[in-house]
Symmetry: C3
Subunit: 348 residues, 3 copies
């Protein structure tokens, strides 16, 4: 995590390049991406510091909500620019990346060091059955839409999208109520190491606010450069959305998960990967649907590739996680599926 902070140097660099109107979209994309990675880490750190002062309930809620703030901010600017395909691809890409890349890398690197790693099956089962629900819920309107050949009115899609978004966010709120209130005992099986806050509350809040503002500025630079960059490099916007943006938005979190797995805290690694996917579907996606109503309504209808890749990811992750143990070969399998999906996207 400490090494990532060196990348903070790209925050001023990218802003200077923006002000001198550097007309190099690929360079601007790269600079803002490199700036966002440590900012997202800083935001996570500040949230954790605040949770020392706020108590575990509000802290848990803050962590859960700010965990995907970076992606939400990037997507907000993409939404504003009308880049719906990029927004939806980055939602799908976050789910796929969290499950296949993060969980795969955690199981692989953890498994190399510890042979067989056990984790709390009960907690993982709650999250992973939730994940199945979330992906099925997200897929049903899309599958129905793709199989209906006739042209439907856009207003009907809008109604369906908003309806599904409301269901999703209600389930998200209920799941927080479940884990922080009615069934909190499942999660507290191992006593958490609480430790001491390193920052004062005032410092933590200032860092959180500054990091959020800086991420917003960098996200605008990043999103502006997407279209010209894809033209310049011959990449598809779809590829940028499904592979690059999720990696940028989640890099800090990803490295934490792998580090935890290497310390044999597989529970934490899995919770980061699956929990993050859940938040994307149940919180980030609905919020983006609602926000889109301000500009131009975005439908919740994903394309076939996104659906297939998400369903396949969730399915294989469930199988791999269901026995309460992991090893390096399971990690490799997840990474291999990510690789095959990536190769397939390349030939599109």
């Amino acid at each position: 995590m400490k090494y990532l902070k060196i990348l903070l140097i790209f925050v001023p660099i990218s802003i200077i390049c923006k002000f001198i109107h550097l007309n190099q979209p690929t360079v601007m994309f790269l600079l803002s991406a490199l700036a966002i990675i440590p900012l997202a880490g800083l935001m996570g750190e500040a949230t954790e510091e605040i949770s020392f002062y706020s108590g575990s309930k509000i802290g848990g809620f803050l962590n859960a909500t700010f965990g995907n703030a970076t992606e939400l901010i990037i997507s907000f600017f993409a939404l504003k620019e009308g880049l719906f395909d990029v927004v939806k691809a980055s939602i799908a890409g976050s789910v796929i990346g969290n499950i296949l890349l993060v969980l795969g890398a955690s199981m692989f690197f953890g498994g190399i060091k510890h042979k067989n790693q056990k984790f709390n099956r009960k907690v993982v089962e709650v999250s992973s059955s939730m994940l199945i629900f979330a992906v099925i819920g997200l897929s049903i309107p899309a599958i129905f839409t793709h199989t209906v050949k006739s042209e439907l009115l856009n207003t009907k899609y809008e109604f369906l999208s908003v309806g599904v978004a409301i269901v999703m966010i209600v389930i998200y709120a209920l799941s927080l109520f479940f884990s922080f209130h009615t069934h909190k005992d499942i999660y507290s099986s191992e006593p958490e190491e609480h430790g001491e806050p390193n920052w004062s509350l005032k410092k933590a809040i200032i860092v959180l606010v500054l990091a959020t503002l800086a991420i917003a500025a960098e996200s605008e630079i990043l999103v502006e450069s997407v279209e010209p960059m894809t033209h310049a490099l011959g990449l598809s916007e779809f590829f940028v959305g499904i592979i690059l943006i999720p990696i940028i938005g989640n890099a800090a979190e990803h490295s934490t998960a792998v580090l935890m797995a290497m310390k044999n805290k597989m529970d934490v690694a899995i919770e980061i990967a699956i929990g993050s996917s859940l938040q994307i579907i149940l919180f980030v996606a609905p919020v983006l649907i609602f926000l889109s109503l301000i500009f131009k309504p975005m439908s919740i209808i994903f394309n076939e590739f996104e659906l297939i890749a998400m369903i396949a990811s969730v399915f294989i992750a469930n199988r791999v996680a269901s026995d309460g143990e992991s090893n390096w070969l399971e990690g490799i399998q997840l990474l291999a599926v990510y690789l095959i999906i990536g190769m397939s996207f390349l030939i599109l």
Copy 2:
């Protein structure tokens, strides 16, 4: 259950309205629906009373066979009217409704009262792997048919439908043989409370016969009113088949399942929900295929929406049931999927 009996008043009301040729299809639909609900409950009660006299084997068989008699009778009249779409939609709707609505409501209301509810994993695993088989078996011909673009001869579909129906009903017979003969020990883990019959055998048989006749009469009224009602209200026949008819046909059974869950008898609630779905696929659907040969052969080919909804239901139910425990959040997830499916059907 007792409150439902008040609804028996709608039996004479609906028949009188029929004789005075009341030309209000929506009213007639409603009256006959309200009459069928308590009649189905009465039929179930009579079957149970008979099983006190007949011994547990024949009783189990009677319960298993008469459990979906109401749906079979309604579908028979729909078949006679040539409403194949309504028949198939109501088969799919029964499967979806039993799993998502009944199981979901049971887990939700039971979970609110009892926090974590345990059930016999072994019994549920037999039923739920059976359910996967049944849905896959039912889906394969349909998926094949939808992916073949060329026009096939109708006789080929007929052959396939009858063939699959024979396989299904043989498996159903074998599964009864499995649970009442070769592996009955799995099921008898907890001693059943046998109790005393409340009715004489003669009374039970008379009630069973009368209820069956009355259901037949009401089903004819119900089915006759479907087409004019859908025209009058602008509903699709598909919606009537997939949502309304299954709720009418299963209302009595549904309330039993939820009551059982609230008494912490989750095993019974799950058996009602999954067992009822199994009977629909393995017994009711094949019998309807055979009966259709009398009028005009109905194919076993479901449409894409029915397939997707059935596969998704079975998949999420399996995951939710696989850990041998349930809680209110799992119930909510099932109900939310039902809601999303319902919303998607609405925009079709």
Copy 3:
């Protein structure tokens, strides 16, 4: 196994008929098929004998690699003739046949004799999660391709096919490394009965070489007769590929699995069925892709029926195997799905 050796008489008969240019494709197909069945058994026996001398590691590797040699040889000749549909159908058919027919028959016949058969859940879970990975990996490029409606360049498919093949074979090598090196302890839970070799090493090697050569000769005869036979009998090449060739290539192995199940060695039976499917996907399919580059590149894109049948097989097998126990009803379910798939292929 001994009874199968009587079929060796068909080796000289088929070769004589070939030399006298018997112009009866159906007879030639049948004769060569009947010759291949005992030859494949002989090859398996010779490999096992060699493994007595080579030590368990190399022996395991030999068994794993030669286990599907017969199918590889038949497919090689089909590839040379350009019968890509037959090759791909026989890959899919091997996977389906191993899981539904072999595992189903093992569970059925074993279950009739032993009521409930337990097996090592841990080993089966490694194989079956591997199998899910393999089928998903194999399906993703195909599903992507089928949903892309536009015409893509053939070179892109070639690139994707070779890429996926490389990923598959690397995973195969890593899985051998996993089971023979880093995690060999999972597999050695029960001490294997080692016994004594029956043959001298020299004899075993000579038999292996001769059997391989004879299989090659017979495979050429078999493949040559496929096209004229299908014309003569009105069968589709697809049916030959998906049903007949897998049964011929695996008959020896299949009978071993059922015999093992009847001896209550369900672990061995499942390992044969699932392990064989895994090898087909992770080893035979990639090798065929590489070999096809010599003649004319074959893509790894399976058609919809093959995909659906493979995914359904793997899904139901996972469910059936996940509880660590089997009974005759589970066997019947697998066989019934095979029957329904077969009936659906017939109407195509």
